[in-house]
């Protein structure tokens, strides 16, 4: 697992992928941050709108990290090297997952410097930033990001084309976002089951507690499970392909 992790981290920085991911997301993040706080019409230290925009941003940029993952290996046939090496398929999947996750953490750490400025130069019209909320939001971002990465890796096992892989991942994530809204359309007793199922599928419905600074154990378990399920499914794709 560590060999593949190292190789992936290296390839993020020898190909453009890692730099594009960090540059694009940090640039947009900095812009959004300043617009939503210091340069707001009424300057504020409230960052809730900032975090919801970042969540959307991650839906678009995290697939950049995962699009090559297994697609590229299949296209260049290097998957033959990986799959005939004495490693379990799941450890390969984990290596890919943790390398993308590391890149994501690097982004989160770099972007968190914004808050140091907000802390020092809190707008006069506003109270100091609410640390509980900020930490809550960060935890939520980490958890949701894990799910996005796992979904992205799963999609990349399905296609040899990395652009298809990226587009399908973004599409799938938006699908999950829309599902949240659809669930709310089914009102009344009759649709109770439909609502339950849709809510169960909805990644975003569980985001709220964290946003207000609460720590929701149920949601934590939910996000970890979703991540685990998609990593497991990625492994199954390889097993199935060996048989077909």
């Amino acid at each position: 697992m560590f060999a593949i992790y190292k190789k992936e981290m290296r390839s993020y920085f020898t190909t453009a992928t890692g730099y594009i991911f960090l540059a694009v997301s940090l640039a947009v993040t900095g812009f959004v941050f300043s617009i939503s706080t210091f340069f707001n019409q009424s300057p504020t230290s409230d960052t809730s709108s900032y975090f919801s925009i970042i969540l959307f941003l991650m839906m678009v940029v995290l697939p950049i990290l995962t699009m090559r993952s297994f697609s590229e290996e299949r296209r260049t046939k290097t998957d033959q090297l990986l799959l005939t090496s004495p490693n379990s398929i799941f450890s390969l999947v984990l290596g890919k997952f943790f390398s993308a996750f590391t890149m994501y953490i690097i982004y989160l750490v770099l972007s968190s410097f914004n808050f140091i400025f907000l802390y020092i130069y809190t707008p006069e019209t506003s109270s100091p930033p609410n640390m509980a909320m900020i930490i809550g939001n960060y935890i939520a971002l980490i958890l949701l990001g894990m799910c996005f990465i796992a979904i992205g890796i799963f999609v990349s096992t399905l296609t040899e084309n990395m652009f298809a892989s990226a587009v399908i991942t973004v599409g799938a994530l938006f699908g999950l976002l829309i599902i949240n809204g659809i669930g709310n359309l089914f009102t009344g007793e009759a649709f109770y089951i439909v609502r339950v199922v849709i809510n169960w599928l909805s990644l975003f419905a569980r985001f709220d507690a964290f946003v207000y600074g609460y720590f929701d154990i149920g949601a934590l378990v939910y996000y970890l499970s979703i991540t685990g399920i998609f990593l497991f499914l990625s492994e199954r794709v390889f097993q199935a392909r060996r048989l077909s």
Binding site: A3, T14, T76, T78, L83, T84, S85, P86, N87, R242
Partner: protein, 314 residues
């Protein structure tokens, strides 16, 4: 060492490998011979655990490849048909990645240096793989297969696309590897297996049609029962004369005319050396022989013979 029992592999409804069984002993160099699409690569991919069989088992050192893949794969070094190279890496980076991937327990630098020297890529080890020629890429692929010193080395068509000089180098390398490894290689070139292998397994349409020692196969096929002869003289009369020689079974004219000379292919049966008879017969008529050579048996001929032989047995 490698034990294959009733291995079957279907793609959809088509049998790529249809119930094959064989045993390869430690230290053998075995050649898989067959035309494209005969099931050679599929068989190799199943031995290395890249594909799962529809039914049947593969055991390496009594370890089932599908039940204990990690243990079995540690014993196998594999070079697929297309070498699995990361073209953005330098040769050294690639080899050291493969070293880590196989979690080898040697001293890394010493082992990789040794492998580089063996396959003669030490001079390009800091170059990007994308900039290497086909021959060097193939050798990097071979290097990655032998990293970790696996007991069994499997090469899928290792000489395809190489120039004649590189082919000779790769063959020499394979022969030297064969001294302390079990080697399986696939090819569709008959002379290649004859040059390298102790044993030949011939596969056609997913089935084994011959499994013999190379020396034995050469004997039974009676390699030199065909000659190509270039004779200056009137073609029809020469043809008749040749046909009249004892134990000649067939004479055909082959190729273009060269001045007043024609080329003939003479087939004969039995173990008599008919070259002298051809000479005296032609000398008496005063038609000079310009060239005479044995025709190497081709894979197609071999196939026809083997299939015929099988039909005859039934």
């Amino acid at each position: 060492m490698i034990e294959i029992n009733n291995l079957v592999r279907k793609f959809g409804n088509k049998y790529a490998v249809d119930d094959i069984s064989f045993l390869i002993k430690t230290g053998e160099i075995v050649g898989f011979l067959g035309p494209n699409g005969a099931g050679k690569s599929t068989t190799m991919n199943m031995i290395t655990g890249y594909l799962s069989p529809t039914s049947g088992t593969v055991k390496v050192d009594n370890i089932d490849v599908f039940l204990e893949p990690t243990k079995a794969k540690k014993k196998i070094g594999f070079l697929p048909e297309q070498p699995p190279l990361y073209i953005d890496m330098t040769v050294w980076e690639y080899l050291s990645f493969v070293f880590d991937l196989k979690s080898c327990e040697f001293n890394k630098k010493a082992h990789l240096d040794e492998v580089c020297d063996l396959v003669k890529i030490a001079d390009v080890k800091n170059k990007l793989i994308r900039n290497l020629s086909k021959g060097y890429k193939q050798r990097v692929g071979i290097a990655s297969a032998i990293i970790g010193n696996p007991e069994i080395i499997i090469f899928d068509e290792p000489t395809v696309g190489l120039d004649p000089k590189q082919i000779i180098e790769v063959r020499n390398l394979l022969r030297s590897l064969g001294k302390d490894h079990t080697v399986i290689l696939s090819t569709h070139i008959l002379s290649e297996v004859q040059a390298i292998c102790d044993r030949i397994i011939i596969i056609n349409e997913g089935k084994i049609i011959a499994d013999e020692k190379t020396s034995h196969l050469n004997q039974t096929l009676g390699q030199n029962n065909r000659f190509r002869v270039k004779i200056a003289g009137p073609s029809r009369e020469v043809l008749n004369l040749l046909k009249g020689i004892h134990s000649v079974t067939r004479v055909t004219q082959d190729g273009a005319r060269d001045g007043d000379a024609f080329t003939y292919i003479i087939e004969y049966s039995g173990s008599v050396d008919i070259r002298k008879m051809i000479f005296t017969a032609l000398a008496s008529k005063g038609w000079p022989i310009l060239a005479m050579e044995g025709v190497e048996i081709t894979l197609e001929d071999l196939f026809i013979k083997l299939v015929d032989a099988k039909g005859g047995n039934k």
